[in-house]
Amino acid sequence: MDGAGFVSRIEGQADSRPPRSPALAAAAVAWAAFAALVRFWPDLDDSAAYGDLLALAGLLIALPPAAAFLFNWRWPALRRLGPWLTALPIGLGLWEVVTAKTLWLPRPFFAPPQALLEVYIDDWPKLLDSLVHSLQLLACGYGLGALSGFIVGVSIGWSRAVGYWVHPVLRLIGPLPATAWLPLMFFAMPSSWSAAVCLIALASGFPVAILTWSGVSSVDRSYYDIARTLGANQRFLVLKVAIPAALPHVFVGLFMGLGASFTVLIVAEMMGVKAGLGWYLQWAQGWASYSNMYAALLVMALVFSSLISLLFRLRGRFLAWQKGLVQW
């Protein structure tokens, strides 16, 4: 670093304002360039009516980093995002070039970014409806699975009698992929929706049960000794010693179960349930509207990732006493 840079850094500290971030300038330029590319390089086919709108969106996104750079705003979140904000329009530009501009990736199997924009603008009611259906199904199935897995895990870990009877059953049934039950469930249950709930519960309950069980049985015996000498009864030992001590394991199980529940949710919606994101994917493929498929995939990725973030945040609250938690 040269002398001037050093001095400006000191001065920057004096009014507690960090120096201008070059990444923000790069981000603004990249978004503007992306907008120009979309607007002025003509598409090879005329299918994408939303090119101008995409260019406008690019310009709008370029504004905050440009302003933040010019007026040297603080806004630490935007500063941290600078490099990503630069990489994103470059990636989008490449995507734009290989699809709409050159058709190296041919239609209809590959869709340009503006085609996704078109889907979100024209078909959002159906997408939203599918999302709501998926979330409802997931909430019921995962909630049921997590709760019953937790209860089963605690009982096996705590009671020798329950362990004797339930453990072999769990060992037999647990490793079966939940999707293998699909044909059976769809005719055994009164509706395809309840069948899907059961399948998701099965898929998510197994890891939760196993990890809760292992958590409860790996609790340090001396915790029980301490509590017993202080006058604790069985109820206290389970609720206030075993379960809190097992919680780190339980959350690993909840995480694994959540992943499994996503898989089963989508498969169940593709196979029998006539609603939801999985069904939307299937429907889009049936009509060869691949841009709808990409749009749904993107929604799915965002939603599932947010759900995992939610679980991690919950874990952070419950396990704040632990050191060195992984951030999602």
Binding site: I226, T229, L230, A232, P244, A245
Partner: protein, 255 residues
């Protein structure tokens, strides 16, 4: 109020991987109310097992242990144990750890005041909301002591409570334990392998043999408190105990 303990012909064996391991062999000991008894013995001799029996965590294979004249049926908050490791619950704050006993018994009234009182007693003021992983070894053991004292024990059972502390912390905590015992007057059973600790703290020293533990001798140690570690009588007592434990004084001072 204070608890007498009567250990009558107790023998005990542990079940180690299917093979019985005799740990205690016909141990008889009467502890008068308010006494401070130190159990000294080579490591692994079965001292801690004896404490677990007195705490009611296990039942003796043979013989009987009486507390207040009645046979011990199980753990009881009047007989509280402080183990070698503080074993604090890592998900509870210092104050919540200390309140464990009253909470377990459903005693809600006056809990906050009781916690504040013992926190002050063991010198942890200001650390009530700290989590166990933020504490030093000495502080964690103080929390363990406070968690025991809040139950107003009539018998305090200490299983090498200071053995993992650095020597300075150990000295100061020995002093604190002594003044707590002199104020509250509970009966104390202390397992230790530190001869000096036994000499400075205990009114009665029980020397145990190697496993299976037998009582080799019981030494009364009625000197006034506070005791001077270089008191010639204590020094000669120390030689005698070390000889009983099979360590000669020269070997020991060379080490």
């Amino acid at each position: 109020m204070v608890m007498p303990i009567d250990i009558a012909h107790v023998s005990h064996r542990l079940d180690l991987a299917g093979a019985p391991l005799p740990v205690l062999n016909d141990v008889s000991l009467k502890v008068a109310p308010g006494e401070f008894v130190a159990l000294l013995g080579p490591s692994g001799c079965g001292k801690s097992t004896l404490l677990r029996l007195v705490a009611g965590l296990e039942k003796p294979s043979w013989g009987r242990i009486l507390a207040d004249g009645a046979e011990i049926a199980g753990p009881d908050p009047h007989r509280v144990v402080v183990f070698q490791d503080p074993t604090l619950f890592p998900w509870r704050t210092v104050a919540q750890n200390i309140a464990l006993g009253p909470e377990a018994r459903g005693e809600k009234a006056g809990q906050r005041e009781a916690v504040a009182k013992v926190v002050k007693l063991v010198g942890l003021s200001g650390f009530e909301d700290a989590l166990p992983h933020q504490l030093s070894g000495g502080m964690a053991q103080r929390v363990a002591l406070a968690r025991a004292l809040i139950n107003k024990p009539r018998l305090l059972i200490l299983d090498e409570p200071f053995s993992k502390l650095d020597s300075l912390t150990r000295l100061s905590m020995q002093g604190e334990l002594l003044s707590l015992w002199r104020e509250a007057g509970f009966t104390t059973l202390l397992v230790t392998h530190d001869v000096e600790e036994a000499l400075v703290l205990a009114t009665k020293i029980v020397v145990l043999s190697a496993r299976p533990a037998q009582i080799l001798t019981v030494i009364d140690n009625p000197r006034a408190f506070p005791r001077d570690r270089s008191d010639p009588e204590l020094v000669s007592l120390r030689q005698r105990i070390l000889a009983l434990l099979g360590v000669t004084a020269t070997e020991n001072s060379a080490a």
